[in-house]
């Protein structure tokens, strides 16, 4: 057991409105964990609270055994965590290489090495390295967003709906990349609307409803659970 | 008042002086309160970022002047000069300001808020340039002189200031009651919801640009009225007098200090700012010489500091708007 992330009774929200209440989850190295749940359940709020983008009303967040509650995103990044927002997750007017340079902003050494690693992982980006990011297609943008987040060699990656607005082929591609990244030893916590597809790639899953954890099990168990399937996955199938 | 005359002639001098100043001050306050109420419709209730208040101040003043003044004499060169009754001048001022607002609003009201501010502050500069540069329009930099006084042919002498005060205060009361009624109406509620969230308001089927235009034009008409009263009160106006500091920023300060979205606040803000602005030069005597002749700059510095302090520490003003937002339009 190597928990890199652990939230303890985490409560957070916007202004004085509580959105997520008493959340306790954990993440291990190399693990892919998906949080599913209906719209408005507080999935994005949870990720933002973990990453220091929202105030924590109660509870604690531990990253590599140390509390990161109250730290700002730039400090959390320097500790080895990374975050990919759902939308606007690239710098459109910067070139591909510049996007990755910003990803590695806190890096002082071996920048070129890491850049080459990213271009190996995402060869389609290497071909366009000097082009503006705004010229990229949807799937390439998502690749760039992932690559940017990996520039500092993080041990944990938070992904906000990485497959949203992608074609089925591109979704498959991105999920494969996510598995490759996890295989490198990175723990991945993601939230997903395409719940069934995401759970098939995951080790474990949490079901978030009404700001609380409603259910927690291995991904296979959740997929096999008729109750959860009907409540949270059936909706996806009908789409 | 008579007892003052008997008691002490020296006191009479000062007391009359104080009285005169105070009557003049209240008249000015009433005009500015009308302007502040007008801006409150645009900014306070609707969120229209009009940085060109002085444009409508100026249009109203010039329109009423041109309709009511006599034909141009020697060395003068302006249009119209119809010698019409002052009430007609006021009416024309409101209509003209409304039309100017409509013309300005058509291209600009769709813009995002700060763009609108840039556009409206620009229009004020253009109007001044036109008034200064166009021969045979409004007498250029020489300005309009000899604008008739309100009821000037009926009252004169020391009584005039009282009549003027009574008329401006009455106008203020009428404008206040009108604005209160309008802003409390369902129409006013739509304006507030536009200010809070234009997208949501649009989504329930309200043509928000149209509502913004209505509020912009209504506010401009009232500003035009304020300008008209101002012209007849001053009896001479020129383009340089309508600067951004005096005609726009001061009125903005009133609304921000008073509490935007509150009509009582706008009037209170006008009173506080007028007291500050017109009372400030009175401290000149008590300042050391080195500062005494800088009293006008000190006043400008103080008003700048005042608005910044309010924005920082009392953003809702002295009389904040009561929350009236309803979720149901």
């Amino acid at each position: 057991m190597n928990k890199i992330l652990e939230t303890m009774n985490l409560t957070s929200g916007y202004g004085d409105i509580t959105i997520i209440d008493n959340i306790s989850i954990y993440l291990e190295s190399s693990e892919i964990v998906t949080i599913i749940g209906p719209n408005g359940a507080g999935k994005s709020t949870l990720l933002k609270a973990i990453f220091g983008m929202l105030p924590i009303f109660n509870g604690d967040v531990k990253f590599k055994e140390n509390s990161i509650a109250g730290r700002n995103p730039s400090e959390i990044v320097s500790l080895g965590a990374s975050f990919v927002p759902q939308t606007e997750n690239i710098f459109p007017s910067l070139s591909i290489t510049e996007n990755l340079e910003i990803g590695g902003y806190q890096r002082s050494d071996n920048f070129q090495e890491q850049l080459d690693k990213m271009f190996q992982l995402f060869p389609e980006l290497a071909k366009k390295s000097n082009e503006k990011a705004s010229n990229l297609s949807g799937g390439q943008r998502q690749s760039l967003a992932l690559a940017r987040a990996l520039m500092l060699d993080p041990v944990m990656l938070l992904l906000d709906e990485p497959s949203a607005a992608l074609s089925p082929v591109m979704r498959q591609f991105i999920f494969e990349k996510i598995k490759e990244i996890a295989a490198l030893g990175v723990g991945i916590l993601m939230i997903e609307q395409n719940a069934e597809e995401a759970l098939r790639q995951s080790d474990r899953g949490y079901v978030l409803a009404g700001g609380k954890i409603a259910f927690h099990d291995t991904a296979q168990a959740i997929l096999a659970n008729p109750e959860v399937g009907q409540l949270f996955l059936g909706i996806q199938k009908e789409k | 008042m008579d007892f003052l005359i008997i008691e002490n002639s020296y006191l009479l001098l000062t007391a009359t002086g104080v009285m005169n100043w105070f009557v003049g001050f209240l008249t000015t306050f009433a005009i500015f309160a009308i302007m502040a109420l007008a801006l409150n419709i645009q900014w306070g209730f609707t969120g229209i970022f009009n940085f060109g208040v002085v444009s409508f101040f100026m249009v109203g003043a010039y329109t009423s002047a041109l309709f009511t003044i006599g034909p141009p004499g020697e060395y003068e060169n302006y249009i119209m000069g119809f010698e019409l009754p002052i009430l007609f001048g006021w009416f024309a001022a409101m209509i003209t300001s409304g039309i100017v607002a409509l013309l300005i609003g058509l291209p600009t009201l769709r813009l995002q808020r700060d763009f609108l501010a840039i556009a409206t502050i620009g229009i004020a500069a253009i109007l001044r340039a036109v008034a200064l540069s166009t021969e045979g329009f409004v007498n250029r930099a020489r300005g309009m002189n000899g604008i008739p006084r309100i009821l000037g042919d009926v009252v004169s002498g020391p009584d005039y200031k009282w009549v003027l005060l009574a008329i401006t205060l009455t106008t203020l009361v009428i404008v206040y009651l009108l604005v209160e009624k309008i802003t409390a109406s369902p129409w006013g509620r739509v304006l507030r919801s536009i200010r809070e969230n234009e997208e949501t308001t649009k989504s329930v089927g309200k043509d928000t640009v149209n509502y913004r235009m209505q509020a912009f034009v209504l506010g401009a008409m009232i500003m035009g009225l304020g300008g008209a009263i101002w012209a007849h009160r001053m009896t001479s106006i020129d383009p340089e007098a309508f600067n951004d500091l005096f005609g726009t920023f001061l009125i903005w300060t009133m609304v921000m200090v008073g509490g935007n979205g509150s009509n009582k606040g706008a009037v209170m803000g006008a009173f506080l700012c007028c007291t500050f602005w017109f009372g400030f030069p009175l401290i000149q005597e008590s300042l050391p010489d080195i500062l005494g002749n800088k009293v006008f700059q000190l006043r400008e510095i103080s008003i700048g500091v005042l608005i910044i302090l309010f924005l920082l520490y009392k953003p809702n003003g002295v009389i904040p708007e009561k929350p009236k937002i309803s979720r149901h339009l």
Binding site: N72, F91, E98 | Q297
Partner: protein
């Protein structure tokens, strides 16, 4: 034809001033997202700081290279750049920072900036009076470029300085880590923050660079025209026009926008009375706002 060419030359000189001023305005606009209505007055402040150094302190020195001024002006430019960089950061920390924290919208910040502008104008008037002054008294002779088209050595200096500053800015924004971080922050501040960039540092650097550009533009304006408090504010509208023309946050767009606005204003005087010249940038502005509010070149740096 010669008249038009002469006006174009003059437009290039004025365009240099408006262009550099707009570059500063657009950088802070792009990152802070609010329209700084004090920008013109800070430009005026720059000329008075320079005036204080070269005239009040008497540091001008003998004239150099046929220019109307001496080495003291170069010193004044350097000192003013530093002072305005510090001043711009200080205003941000004192006023705008708190308004940002209070989630005040861009409108509140714009009104506050108008207040800052009014304070600056009043303070300058308090110390130097309301009348126009000159860095150097007397008329400065113009020299012919070709035929009857003339230019003053001071104006050549203004154009040359603009080229130098533009090259420095290009290097800074495209070839330094700070510049790339600034562009990233203007592009997407939230993502810049989760990439580990300290946004407050970037804001401070942006204000410093804005202050420096404003200093150079303001002093150039004082050299070209006069040292007069209203000059900066009068350029506010042309600068906003240039900024919107070039796309908010885009310094090259702002520079080109500055030339477009200035040259068209100057050339327009061949047909319309000089008094209407202020209307030209405004017409450009309104057309841009209606037709292409994101600017000709887009809002990207």
């Amino acid at each position: 034809m010669e008249e038009i060419l002469q006006l174009v030359v003059f437009g290039i000189v004025i365009g240099s001033i408006i262009g550099l001023g707009s570059m500063g305005l657009t950088l802070s606009y792009g990152i802070t997202k609010f329209a700084n209505f004090a920008h013109g007055d800070i430009m005026s402040l720059a000329m008075y700081i320079a005036y204080f150094i070269v005239v009040d302190l008497g540091l001008m020195g003998p004239t150099v290279f046929s220019l109307s001024f001496g080495w003291g002006m170069f010193l004044a430019i350097a000192v003013t750049i530093i002072l305005l960089a510090i001043f711009s950061i200080a205003i941000d920390k004192l006023i705008y920072k708190k308004l940002r924290r209070d989630k005040s919208n861009i409108v509140t910040m714009a009104i506050a900036s108008l207040g800052v502008g009014i304070i600056i104008r009043a303070v300058v008037t308090m110390f130097w009076g309301p009348f126009a002054r000159n860095f150097v008294p007397g008329i400065h002779e113009a020299v012919p470029i070709t035929g009857n088209i003339l230019i003053k050595p001071d104006q050549i200096f203004i154009i040359a300085l603009t080229i130098v500053v533009t090259i420095v800015m290009y290097y800074l924004l495209y070839h330094t880590k700070l510049g790339k971080a600034m562009r990233a922050t203007a592009d997407n501040p939230d993502l810049a923050a989760v990439s580990g960039i300290n946004i407050n540092n970037i804001l401070a650097y942006t204000w410093a660079i804005t202050g420096a550009l404003t200093a150079v533009a303001g002093i150039m304006l004082g050299i070209q025209a006069q040292v007069y408090i209203n000059l900066g504010f009068n350029l506010l509208l042309p600068m906003f026009a240039a900024v919107i023309l070039g796309g908010i946050g885009n310094p090259w767009g702002a520079l080109i926008g500055g030339f477009v606005v200035a040259i068209s204003s100057e050339v327009s005087t061949a047909w319309i009375a000089t008094g209407y010249k202020p209307a030209v940038p405004f017409v450009i502005l309104i057309i841009m706002l209606i037709v292409r509010p994101r600017g000709i070149f887009g809002s990207n740096i």
